[in-house]
Symmetry: C2
DNA sequence: ACAGGCGAAACTTTATACAATCCGCGCCCG
DNA sequence: CGGGCGCGGATTGTATAAAGTTTCGCCTGT
């Protein structure tokens, strides 16, 4: 038998250099440190992570498939800039999928998972209390991803990961005020519904939570043009 | 040595060699010519398409993200082998998404689209009449993709493309009898409902259509173990 | 004769070199 | 003085070569 311990599948991401690049860039986008339209030069990223362009390139291509990076031929890679139409589609898809996800999450709920959710709520509250906007927005997205992981449905999880990443860009582009990206209060209510295994309440609260997020956006196409112009000039 | 006559015109996909590879392999998988577990060697594919391994590699990575190819580290790329659990997830996701898709398709239905659907039904019937199983299974999947394109929702379309490709592998692995993969009759009924803009009927028929496909599968995990074992021994 | 280990071949992975393309800037011309 | 044109730098796309890993065959020892 093989004496060497072989990491069976592509599970460990940290050991893979490509995954480290991908997750680093993803985290930067989810924390609103990389703005839509920012150019992601291959040499530049390669320098940062001490990797060759080959690896950077594969990482960027994965991000393209996740919908948060665009590659223009012979031009390079850029952080994606979702249009208002994209935004509407993303949130419609989330309103369709996430109530079902939370439903399954209740089926799979164990004390360990409940604790995990509770701990996450604490982290969210702490980040909000100390005014750490970057951590707040990241944790808000991670809450939804956590519920999807809980549901155990890998297909839904994959879809939702993509939707969450795009949502982060959308919120950055189209949020009206400086309201928190994702009300922590709603998350508390959802966790409460999961704990009591009240599927109906959980679905309803998830749905209204998503509606409220979308309601805080300003999705007129004119606004997109304004923002786009402003961004170009600012750059 | 290959045709250097590549005019600088950006033809849609044909000029992109990576896309040509990706679509070629995808078509082979959707037509059940490439079986689950088949090794996809880089040199082998590169030879076929007259491309370098670099391009083959990027194409394969895209297919990994579509869920129909697995890459095992230092081992190579293989056609994916969905488990029964994967199969249940895929069909549950389809039952969730496709009724909504057909709903939107009705909103976007135009005479041109109706004609397109009608033409597709004719192709399906012809393929079935002449006993062309490969064309049949391909066209069955394409019908669902066509409806998704009709809906105009690019997010749903992307999700469904992935689900359809995986479904093709699932049907190949777990179909009980040699029943046609996707009853043409159901498609006829769905198109009729779209033509009359009867959303309720369309949703119901799409749902029962998907249920029937799944009902024709044999998704016991024991079967999966047998198959998996056979593969390990055979390899 | 069979089990076990060594070695070579084939493949994937990674890095680097080369070619093609695009953008910016200066020059020339109207 | 303004606009079009062409050249140079920079960046991406592609191919090829070097490096590491796995697998298979053969050979030896018992």
């Amino acid at each position: 038998m093989a004496a060497k311990v072989r990491p069976k599948s592509d599970a460990p991401d940290a050991s893979d250099r490509v995954s480290r690049i991908r997750e680093g860039v993803t985290a930067a986008i989810l924390e609103h440190r990389l703005l839509p339209g920012t150019k992601l030069g291959e040499d530049e990223i390669g320098e940062i992570y001490g990797a060759s362009r080959t690896l950077v390139r594969t990482a960027l291509q994965q991000l393209v498939h996740e919908g948060i990076v665009n590659i223009e031929k012979n031009r390079g890679a850029f952080v994606a800039r979702p249009t208002p139409a994209d935004a509407r589609e993303v949130f419609e898809a989330r309103r369709l999928i996430e109530p079902t996800i939370v439903d399954h999450a209740i089926d799979a709920a164990s004390p360990a998972w409940i604790d995990r959710l509770q701990q996450h709520l604490t982290e969210e509250r702490e980040a909000e209390l100390r005014g750490d906007a970057r951590a707040s927005v990241r944790l808000s997205g991670e809450f939804h991803r956590l519920v999807a992981e809980m549901s155990g449905h890998s297909i839904y999880l994959g879809f939702l990961k993509e939707l969450i990443a795009r949502s982060s860009l959308i919120i950055l582009l189209y949020r009206r005020h400086d309201t928190p990206a994702c009300g922590t209060d709603h998350h508390v209510g959802i966790v409460a519904a999961i704990r009591t295994r009240d599927k109906q309440a959980a679905r309803v609260q998830m749905l209204s939570h998503l509606r409220e997020i979308e309601a805080e956006l300003f999705l007129k196409d004119s606004a997109a043009d304004e923002l786009r112009l402003a961004d170009v000039l600012g750059a």
